[in-house]
Each structure stands twice: as structure tokens, then as C-alpha cells.
């Protein structure tokens, strides 16, 4: 995710993504949700819709 955004927890606290562009977890397996930690590769997760949806 790139651009002007702010990440918040469900209770409203701001999450520091650590950098201007972040990768969000879509497979649900990340240990640092909502951020991605690459675990989708272990789970064999594939996003539907391919490149465009990224």
C-alpha cells in the first residue's frame, strides 16, 4: 500500500508501519498483522485476481 494513509487498530490506535509504503497481510498467517511478514509463501496462499488487485 502506497500513498497517503494511516493504519489503525480496531480500537483506534495508530499503527506505525515503519515506512512510507507497507505490505498488508492478506493470507491471515502473518505474525505481525496487519503487516505482511512473508509467511504467505509457507502457507501457499495465492491472491485471487492476480497482479491488478495487489
Amino acid at each position: 500500500m502506497r500513498g497517503d494513509f494511516e493504519l489503525r487498530t480496531q480500537s483506534g490506535e495508530v499503527i506505525d508501519g515503519g515506512r512510507g509504503t507497507v505490505a498488508l497481510c492478506r493470507c491471515g498467517l502473518s505474525a505481525i498483522k496487519p503487516l505482511c511478514d512473508g509467511t504467505h509463501k509457507v502457507g501457499g496462499f495465492h491472491a485471487s485476481g492476480g497482479d491488478r488487485e495487489r
Binding site: G18, R19, G20, T21, V22, A23, A31, I32, L35, C36, D37, G38, T39, K41, V42, D51, R54
Partner: protein
């Protein structure tokens, strides 16, 4: 950094010449013969590494004008031809349509069956083994990101922007205390290792030098620009998961949050970098330069192959003699 100790006739000739003000006669015995196994050729990898280092920080007491001395460039060129031929053997060509570069990179990484150095370091490594791993890696990590930065002036448009976005993060967004090479110094200090740039080069076997020589080759030869960004993509795409294991291994051995920050940061950062590298950098470059698609895959394959050689070397060494190399202590 001091000049390294020579390991054979070629590195001896190069290192001897660099000890004199430039220009000074430099003649190197011609090399030929098979190039398989060249990743473990101590003389060649050290000579090449020394040539390349003139483009980075140079050596204490060595005339910086050696960087572009025609005689040194000629030696480097001849060594590079052999190294490149060896890499082409290690990394056989992959045919790919330009549009399919990002998915081909993902397949390549998924099919990678290199040895699990990370698994060993997470669960089994002794403190001495972890220290040896870090000392070996310092040859690259103390100049982390620098070899890929050679690509910046060679790119344009969206591919350039993508490389910049990754590199800015590697360099800590311009904050020295967040630069990845500085975070690596924290790992080294926590393990009582010397964090001087290049300190462990004399203890680094050919395969460790080959890891850096691969990127320097791709970075300093504009004709290999596609391979350079493919190398970066493979590097970033195989980073988050191992770094989590390295961090966990260091925690198991008593490392605190400062010691493990380098690894913890890479779990999160490289999950982002891999997306930018595969899609925006390599995908974007392949759209700009469709003819370079297979070069990108070559760079990625070479990255994985050399890393696998490094992992096999260290695991094999620890298997045959669990004692640390005294020279890395």
C-alpha cells in the same frame, strides 16, 4: 581496511601492485581451464573482490587512482569473464515472457531448494557458530545495499523510482541509526565481533566473497543491469522468513532487542521490498526493456545459487568440525 593477504598468483599480483603508487606495472598470469566450481576458487574470488573494492571504500595506504587504472581494469575484466561463465553454469537460462517476469520470479523462489541455514541457526547453532555466520555475513552487510545502488543511474522512470524506494529504506530513510549496515553493526557488537568495515575479509572463504562479487559484477557492468535487479528481487523475496529464523536463533542464544533488531527489521521491511522489487522494479523494467526479461531471471537464479553454495559451505563445515574457525574468533 587493510589490503587482504593473497591466496594465489593472481591475487598476489593484484595486491602487490596496489601497494605501489599508480601507475605501476601489473601483469597477471593468464587463467584458463574449467569454470565449474569457480565459486570456491580462493585466488580468483579474492583478486576480483580486491579489484571491486577499489570502487567502494578502497584500502588503507592504497592510491585511490588505482580505481580506473587501465591495467587493473584489464585484470578485472579477464577475471569477470571467468566468473560470469561460472555463474552461467550455476544459473542456467530461464525463458520468460516480459509480462510474466513477476510471476516467474515468484515461481523461482518457491522452487528454491537451497540448504536450510536459517533453520539450523534458529534451532541448533551454538553461539560460536552464530558468531561465525555473522562474521562471514559482515563482508556484505557492512556495505549492505551499496552494490545494488550502482543500478540507480542506469534506470529510468518507474523502475528507477522503485529501486529508490527500496534503497531509501535500506539506508534508513537517511537516518544513520536506522541504516541497515548500522543495524548490522549492533548485531556484531552484541556478539563481541569487530565491526570495522572489511575486518573479516581475510577469514572469509571464496564462497563468502562470491556472494558480494556476484552483485558487484552485475552492478558495475551496465550490460548486466537486468541481472542486477533480478538479483535484488530474489534477495528480497527470500529474506523475510530466514530473517525471522535468524532473529529467533539469536534470541535463543540470549540476544536482546538491540542485537536482533537487524533481523526483526528485515522481516517487516523485506516483505515490502519483495513486492516493490518483483512488480514495480523487475516488472516495470521488463515492460521498458522486453529483451532483458531473461537477464532478470538469470540474476535471480544466480543469487539463489550462490546463496545456496554459501549455506552448503557453512553447514558442511559445522557438520565436519563443530569447532569454530579460530581465525574468526
Amino acid at each position: 581496511m587493510r589490503l587482504p593477504h593473497p591466496r594465489g598468483p593472481v591475487s598476489a599480483a593484484v595486491i602487490d601492485a596496489l601497494g605501489h603508487p599508480c601507475p605501476y606495472p601489473l601483469a597477471v598470469p593468464p587463467a584458463d581451464g574449467p569454470v565449474d566450481g569457480i565459486v570456491h576458487d580462493e585466488d580468483l574470488q579474492l583478486a576480483l573482490w580486491t579489484c571491486y573494492e577499489m570502487h567502494y571504500r578502497g584500502f588503507d595506504g592504497v592510491d585511490d587512482d588505482w580505481e580506473w587504472a587501465p591495467s587493473l581494469i584489464a585484470v578485472r575484466g579477464a577475471l569477470e569473464e571467468r566468473w560470469l561463465a561460472g555463474l552461467r553454469l550455476l544459473a542456467p537460462p530461464v525463458e520468460v515472457e516480459p509480462d510474466a517476469v513477476p510471476s516467474a520470479l515468484a515461481e523461482l523462489v518457491a522452487a528454491d531448494d537451497g540448504p536450510s541455514l536459517a533453520g539450523f541457526l534458529q534451532r541448533k547453532a551454538t553461539l560460536e557458530q552464530f558468531r561465525e555466520f555473522v562474521a562471514q555475513r559482515s563482508v556484505y552487510h557492512l556495505k549492505e545495499a551499496d552494490p545494488h545502488s550502482w543500478g540507480i543511474p542506469r534506470l529510468e522512470g518507474s523502475a528507477k523510482a522503485a529501486l529508490i524506494e527500496i534503497q531509501v529504506d535500506e539506508y534508513g530513510g537517511g537516518r544513520v541509526e536506522r541504516m541497515h549496515s548500522e543495524l548490522f553493526r549492533d548485531v556484531m557488537r552484541a556478539l563481541d565481533l569487530d565491526d570495522d568495515y572489511g575486518h573479516y575479509v581475510d577469514q572469509a572463504p571464496a564462497v563468502t566473497l562470491a556472494v558480494t562479487n556476484t552483485i558487484s559484477l552485475f552492478g558495475l557492468r551496465r550490460s548486466l543491469g537486468g541481472a542486477l535487479i533480478g538479483h535484488l528481487a530474489a534477495f528480497e523475496m527470500t529474506s523475510s522468513l530466514p530473517n525471522r529464523r535468524y532473529g529467533n536463533g539469536l534470541r535463543r542464544l540470549g540476544g536482546d532487542a538491540t542485537a536482533t533488531r537487524f533481523y526483526d527489521e528485515h522481516v517487516e521491511a523485506d516483505a515490502v521490498h519483495e513486492q516493490i522489487a518483483a512488480h514495480d522494479l523487475c516488472g516495470g523494467y521488463a515492460r521498458q526493456h522486453p529483451e532483458a526479461a531473461s537477464d532478470i531471471l538469470f540474476g535471480a537464479t544466480a543469487c539463489l545459487a550462490v546463496e545456496a553454495e554459501f549455506g552448503r559451505y557453512l553447514l558442511g563445515r559445522w557438520e565436519s568440525s563443530p569447532e569454530p574457525l579460530s581465525r574468526t574468533a
